[in-house]
Symmetry: C2
Subunit: 198 residues, 2 copies
DNA sequence: ACCTGAACACCGTTCAAGT
DNA sequence: ACCTGAACACCGTTCAAGT
């Protein structure tokens, strides 16, 4: 009988638990989700789960860290483009659709609320945000050199403004049920254009 | 000995409890604040509080409804102005300072997260948001008639975009400790100008 | 090693008893 | 009428006991 831990099983269980947690969090939010809810969804007993996550908090942190992956394709597009403003306006429909998914917006806002109290969640989200902001800033800086982007503001200021606009979009659907992303696509893109072009 | 309730006392107690709750919420957030925390801060016993608020939820809802008052001065400015774009850019420093107060941003995000699960909180915030959006939209519509505001987008679409920008500003400080509102004042105002002017 | 379920501590809410 | 504090139910976490 093996007495050494099985890393394969551990990894599998963590994924299984995180997937279960994501379902529960989407339905009920972080704080109304019960450990037993997650256990049931994951098919484990109450105590069993604690072998893989020390606390509920750890599950939330791990969940927040997973968001990071979703940025990769956007970052790649920004790195490879030779017209950053066009790249951003091209991304807009993608952003709008993702953000208008109510589940996504809810979890994003909930994670942000959590971040303001929980430094580990904050770190995970901040790193995420920082990565994307940097990618935008670098692309815009290249655009400034090429004369495609206005030079009256620093590239990182412009990038931060773009991010603020995006995060405003993310939470829009929560309070306004009549909000439709399509209606704002053209508007947002023209705004980006006017903000960024010389 | 009086057997009829004393409405004066009731009103006083509610204010006293809400004030205590606000302090606790700012420190710990809605969910990490304990009923006993609020009771202690308000100088009441555990059971005593329940004479004035039936549940913790009711306290949160009442708290969310209070935010509404803060909009009044902004709305008045928008109603009285004869240059809505100038009015909005004039408001920006005020908005930026209020939003860059971390406590304010935290509570705003927390309330929004709460709204996505709690329909009464949602209603309170939505009404608040609606009022302000309407005020901006009306002002912009007047500006469109007067030729000060572009006519290529509907006034309410423009107003919603302005609101999204503002709400992006509100949450900015949570993840980015280096964020300073002053640095964005000029940028935001130029953005508003470019967005709204013909 | 991995898992279970009973047990414990904590927090929202209630209620009998006080003034 | 208004208030208190003990009591109850629920949930995060632990741990002795099973395989």
């Amino acid at each position: 009988m093996a007495r050494t831990p099985n890393p394969k099983l551990g990894a599998r269980r963590r994924i299984q638990i995180l997937r279960a947690a994501a379902t529960c969090f989407t339905r009920k939010g972080f704080h109304q989700t019960t450990m037993v809810d997650i256990c049931t969804a994951a098919g484990l007993s109450a105590g069993g789960l604690y072998r893989y996550f020390k606390t509920k908090d750890d599950i939330i942190v791990a969940f927040a860290e997973e968001e990071r992956i979703e940025n990769e394709p956007l970052i790649r597009v920004l790195q490879e483009t030779n017209d950053p403003v066009a790249a951003l306006t091209g991304i807009t429909p993608h952003i709008l659709v993702a953000f208008s998914d109510l589940d996504y917006g809810r979890l994003a806002v909930e994670a942000l609320a959590e971040a303001s109290r929980n430094s580990r969640v904050k770190q995970a989200l901040a790193r995420n945000e920082e990565e994307l902001t940097q990618a935008i800033a670098h692309a815009l800086a290249r655009g400034q050199s090429a004369g495609q982007v206005r030079k009256t503001f620093a590239a990182d200021q412009l990038a931060t403004t773009v991010m603020m606009l995006y995060s405003g979009l993310a939470s829009r659907g929560i309070l306004d049920p009549a909000y439709t992303p399509r209606a704002y696509e053209q508007l947002v893109n023209e705004l980006l254009d006017r903000l960024l072009r010389p």
